[in-house]
Symmetry: C2
Subunit: 345 residues, 2 copies
DNA sequence: GAATTTCTGATGTACGTAAATCAAAAATGT
DNA sequence: ACATTTTTGATTTACGTACATCAGAAATTC
């Protein structure tokens, strides 16, 4: 049987109350006594039963998730993962509130952060827009002792406790290598399609991609970046124009959302098989396009992992506990038509 | 506040004891009363506090992990993940025993399974060798009410409760597509290096790979499969002979272990840059080879995920609970030199 | 050595559930 | 109407920890 507080008390020859004082470092214990107890804890290998402790404390964690609104499939998937986490609230002792904000809007985000602050939660997870005023708003939260985790898109310099998302520089590099190798010897320009340069994740992906392409595949020049605002209709228009303008286009790297428009444009122009296309995020649209061959590879971040990780980290930070960073790292999934996961309901 | 058993009792107008009888379906409750209680449970939205219930029950889960011995890096990594889980035993209420067995040895595995059976654990996780006598031994465990999960390599037809591992057919197909596209237009034979055809995972990978190569890249004929027994020394010898024999070799798909030997042979013959090499499992050796360019891509299964998933499933099955299969699916990681995770201690 | 301050022990309640016991009530059979 | 069986209630103990209170012991100060 694993040792309990009673065993420690017996071993150290003190009362339960004293053990409790040591364990929860309450005042009123002489150093000699404290040492005795601590030795007993070590020799018995005592570990606090967290479940029992939480039960006794009645601890719970009010959390706020700030997510971009709009019909971006990835973000809606993220939201549904948060809702799934809300369904688990009872057993995880969390109380989650979702705050929607317009996408790519720093001002609205600042407001949402301030609203979140007024709710006095234990922690806040936020899909960040990279702007100084947002960073300041995050700092204010932290000053109030509220843990903050950036989700999907990071916000360096804001003092956030943790970033729950993929290494987007690495993702961009990976896309670069895949693009270079998939297009093979075939020379020709490569187009890059982004959502907005206001968010950190898109900027990082672009940087990684351009670095690798320049260093390793100089035969494929990059065209100027196209910004599609993650809007399918706009993306479709831009891509159609692109394909007609650049007759020998070798590849397209779509590093943001709006894949519906990309796929529609490629299929309508009939060039989908000759242009190597690499996109981000596995959604019903990108999945279908992968299967049909319109898209050659999809880089994905698992929204479920990100949400669960964010919650774990927020809870730990709220309790002042350390986080095993390696364990919370979010992997970049690479999907080809061959390794698509089974569709779920 | 979330409702408790007391609230149900009050709402239903019955005593705590009756609520307990209903919740844990003990006998001695009339149907009308049972209905009243169940309605109260639904209308209040009661969910059992699992932590408190486990505390009260003093439930714990003795588990046995049967793992191949030998210096296979992947298997040693798997074992260290199991040991990490043992360190968490206290908080997870598990008691884990590791049983080592010689690799690829059906007889030894049968014996280990019977030893595991005598320990009367709640569940057993086993890296299976695909043989009828092993399947029978697994069935005997299940007859005793012991949950069985196959780990890494599956055992269809054994009635195991669950398989904690990747879809190896998909992995093989993925390797095929990568191989075909990475070698590009370049024609030339492709070699396949396996560990042993006695394990299901290797057979599945081979099948997926050959299917894709035959259907989509007929310009690259496959050479007869080489079996290296996951033994670095033997693998090195075989690969050196191979490279000298096949002067225009375009690629090597190593679907088993023993990557050390593969890398050594490729580097010594100086053909590492011209032969497209795809291997399995991220180990210190394959990681270094990826970085140096000797290996072009590594398909990986996250041993930590597999072990944690196996434990979750075993606990659930032991309690007769359902498992959300989609949630327990193990992904195939694809690593290029660009998206290697940070090395951990 | 007395007064004070600082520690320590003893004890009880609580968290939400499980499980057992025994008495009382209700339903059933004859 | 009685005995019998089945169902229900009331109450208690337990799990391992947190937290509070109060009395008493030990150490410190003067």
């Amino acid at each position: 049987m694993r040792p309990t507080v009673h065993d420690i008390a017996a071993k150290a020859g003190v009362s339960l109350a004293t053990v409790d004082r040591v364990l929860n470092n309450r005042p009123g214990v002489r150093n000699v006594t404290r040492d005795k107890v601590e030795r007993a804890i070590v020799t018995l290998g005592y570990v606090r039963d967290v479940a029992a402790a939480n039960l006794a404390k009645g601890r719970n964690y009010p959390l706020v998730f700030i997510l971009p609104a709009g019909d971006n499939s990835f973000m809606r998937g993220l939201e549904s993962e948060v809702r799934a986490a809300m369904a688990r609230s009872a057993s995880e002792r969390t109380q989650i509130t979702i705050l929607p904000v317009p996408a790519f809007d720093a001002q609205a985000l600042v407001q949402a952060l301030s609203e979140a602050r007024q709710r006095r939660p234990a922690g806040v997870a936020v899909v960040a827009v990279d702007a100084p005023e947002v960073a300041e708003a995050v700092m204010r939260l932290r000053d109030d002792g509220i843990a903050v985790v950036t989700l999907v898109s990071d916000l360096p310099g804001s003092g956030r406790d943790h970033f729950a998302g993929v290494d987007n520089l690495a993702a961009g590099r990976t896309a670069g290598t895949l693009m270079g190798r998939f297009t093979g010897g075939r020379a020709g320009p490569i187009a890059v399609l982004a959502g907005s340069m206001l968010v950190r994740d898109h900027r990082d992906r672009l940087e990684g991609f351009t670095t690798v392409m320049a260093e390793e595949f100089p035969a494929c020049p990059l065209l100027p970046v196209i910004e599609g605002q993650d809007d399918p209709a706009l993306v479709e228009k831009l891509v159609r124009a692109l394909v007609e303008r650049e007759r020998d286009l070798a590849g397209i790297y779509s590093l943001g959302a709006g894949n519906r428009g990309l796929v529609a444009a490629l299929e309508k122009t009939g060039k989908s098989k000759t242009i190597c296309t690499i996109a981000h995020e596995l959604t019903p649209h990108s999945r279908a396009a992968l299967r049909s061959g319109t898209i050659d590879a999809v880089l994905n971040q698992d929204a479920g992992h990100e949400v669960r990780s964010a919650i774990r980290v927020l809870k730990a930070k709220a309790d002042g506990l350390a986080v095993i960073e390696a364990q919370e790292r979010i992997r970049i999934d690479i999907f080809l038509k061959d390794n698509l996961p089974i569709e779920q309901a």
